[in-house]
């Protein structure tokens, strides 16, 4: 393994009584697209700001490319940030904004121009170089912010919910574009988001934050398929928790388990070899290409079951409401979340 791009050791930060970040240990590899996922207030931004140097940790240290940079100011660190509200300089035009970092580093004018224009072209904004930030749309501002950071060719790029202000369609498009840019430039991206779908689609690895700590670090597939805690199972996807007596009855042993909605078969779909449980369909939620069935098991808990609308009419699907059904799943799709963990209700 090459040297880590970012290494956080026992990183903590308190604001007065509030502990925003509480003992975070994390290694982010070189060239990785790394996401920090977590509910609001879980400390993602604070960690990012400590990597950038805007915030001094209360304890612990930040290492960039093997060097301890904990005490260094932001301008002496080889990282750049894309801010959530973009923070473009309103008194400069787009080109001057993008050139700023190079001008500060005294890059000669012709080279500066060339690199800035190339950066703008790479985000398809070459034509708007002379505009002021106020004359741009949200998506365009977002691209300028990206170009302004990337033109410096930092070792690490920090992005704090950069797509938060965009509408869904533009967001999807930018997700793909960001991922593509990251592959091309090969810079390490540290991406903060509270959108689990976004994190799953874009990242090489994801750290799930909760109350200033990291719950789990894993690849998207591992995070989804083998979450190690009820919190992660609930935050990444819909979890369908079974614990206590229900676990004993349905799964056959004590502990805490989760089954993903798309892994559960309903009625006729139940296969040979499936573990089964009887229940009543409480509700059917029509979502276009798929339906969600809320099935209350006789054993207690309600499971969400996802079924694609491959056949049958919507009316037929809706008619299941109130019916007794059998649900089933392959035993290997039962995720064990650890035997004695206490489930806590978490609002995001």
């Amino acid at each position: 393994m090459s040297t880590a791009a970012v290494e956080l050791v026992g990183l903590s930060k308190s604001f007065g009584d509030v502990t925003a970040v509480d003992g975070v240990d994390l290694t982010i590899r070189d060239g990785e697209f790394f996401s920090m996922l977590g509910p609001s207030g879980s400390g993602k931004t604070t960690v990012l700001r400590m990597i950038a140097g805007f915030e001094q940790p209360t304890s612990g240290s930040v290492h960039l490319a093997g060097q301890d940079v904990t005490g260094r100011p932001p301008f002496a660190r080889d990282v750049n940030t894309v801010f959530q509200d973009y923070a473009l300089f309103p008194h400069m035009d787009v080109l001057a904004n993008v050139e700023y970092g190079l001008r500060v580093k005294k890059v000669p004018r012709p080279e500066r121009r060339e690199r800035a224009m190339a950066a703008l072209d790479s985000v398809q904004l070459g034509d708007l170089a002379a505009r002021r930030p106020t004359q741009l749309s949200g998506g365009q501002r977002q691209r300028v912010a990206l170009a302004r950071a990337l033109v410096n060719r930092p070792r690490v790029l920090l992005l704090d919910e950069p797509l938060g202000a965009l509408d869904l369609k533009l967001r999807r498009a930018m997700q793909l574009e960001l991922k593509q840019i990251q592959r091309e430039v090969g810079i390490t991206f540290v991406f903060v988001t509270h959108d689990q779908e976004e994190a799953l689609t874009m990242s090489d690895r994801i750290a799930v934050f909760r109350d200033g700590r990291i719950e789990q670090v894993a690849t998207p597939a591992d995070l989804y398929e083998s979450p190690t805690s009820p919190f992660v199972a609930g935050f990444v996807g819909t979890s369908n928790l079974l614990d206590g007596g229900a676990a004993q009855t349905v799964v056959g042993r004590p502990g805490m388990f989760s089954i993903r909605p798309e892994k559960i078969h309903l009625g006729d779909d139940v296969r040979d070899g499936d573990a089964t449980a009887p229940g009543v369909v409480q509700d059917v939620v029509y979502l276009g290409s798929v339906n969600h069935y809320l099935v209350e098991l006789d054993a207690g808990p309600t499971l969400t079951v996802l079924r694609q609308n491959l056949r049958g009419t919507t009316d037929e699907a809706m008619a299941l409401r109130g019916q007794r059904v059998t649900v089933g799943w392959a035993p290997e799709h039962v995720i064990e979340l650890g035997p004695h963990q206490q489930l806590e209700k978490e609002e995001s």
Binding site: A52, F83, P90, R148
Partner: protein, 269 residues
């Protein structure tokens, strides 16, 4: 908001009345500067430009204007530097007693001029042993000029937040470079507005000036005050007043223009 027709007529009449009340006397001053009568007879028996040429040739008036301009410019420059620094310090750093310091900076504008004047004169003469003169006058004016600059600067800083500065540092700019390239340009219109107000305050200040200017120095307001009731000088004073009315339009116009740029700053946030 919508008004009934009757209310609307009433509001218009009232607005007209207020404007008339404010501007009729000013118009009279301008008109009287061309009045042939030395005692401002009404209606004017005839019109002349005699007083205007007399005013231009009056050494007293000319000197007084120069002194006033010098004092106002110097006090404003001091206020700009100190007021901006104070605003930056109070906005950026949290420290014990920050609100008290902020209040202390603003206080001079609320204190009666007589009090400030006596206090400053005493301090200069007894504590520091400085003769009253240009220096003491400028310093005294700066005490209340700082307030206007400080207020404008801190309001702008509050609205900007620290985000742009963080972006600048993130891109490799040090503290000084960030101040020069980002903070200062973003504050420019606020500082200009503060400076204009500060200049205007200093230019027509009379009470503090009376206590701290000493013998030899005559600012324009003091010169006007001393000459207003001399029959020979009254028309010349009137001319100076008329000229000042015309000149005051300039800063008002400039600050209106600045209000426009302020909006573009606000829109960018």
């Amino acid at each position: 908001m919508t008004f009934s027709p009757a209310t609307r007529v009433l509001l218009r009449a009232f607005t007209g009345l207020v404007l008339l009340f404010v501007y009729a006397p000013l118009a009279l001053v301008v008109l009287n500067s061309f009045n042939t009568s030395r005692t401002f007879e009404w209606p004017p028996p005839g019109f002349t430009t005699r007083w205007w040429s007399a005013a231009v040739e009056s050494d007293g008036a000319r000197n007084a204007i120069v002194v006033s301009l010098e004092v106002a410019v110097m006090a404003t420059v001091i206020a700009l530097v100190l007021g901006t620094m104070a605003a930056l310090a109070l906005q950026r750093f949290r420290f014990f007693g920050r609100d008290t310091v902020s209040l202390l900076i603003i206080l001079p504008i609320a204190l009666p001029g007589v009090v400030t004047g006596i206090a400053l004169a005493n301090a200069f003469l007894t504590m520091f042993g400085i003769q009253l003169g240009m220096l003491t006058l400028v310093v005294s004016h700066a005490t209340f000029c700082i307030v206007t600059v400080f207020n404008n600067a801190i309001a702008r800083l509050r609205r900007l937040g620290g985000n742009l500065e963080e972006a600048s540092m993130d891109l490799g700019a040090g503290t000084f470079r960030t101040f020069w390239s980002i903070t200062l340009p973003m504050m420019r219109s606020a500082l200009l507005a503060g400076a204009l107000l500060s200049f205007a305050l200093s230019f027509d200040e009379i009470i503090v000036t009376t206590f701290t200017a000493g013998q030899g120095i005559q600012t324009l307001p003091i010169w006007i005050y001393q000459n207003l009731f001399r029959p020979n000088q009254a028309p010349v004073v009137n001319v100076v007043a008329a000229a000042l009315i015309v000149l005051s339009v300039i800063p008002i116009w400039v600050s209106q223009k600045l209000a426009g740029t302020d909006e573009s700053v606000a829109a960018a946030r």
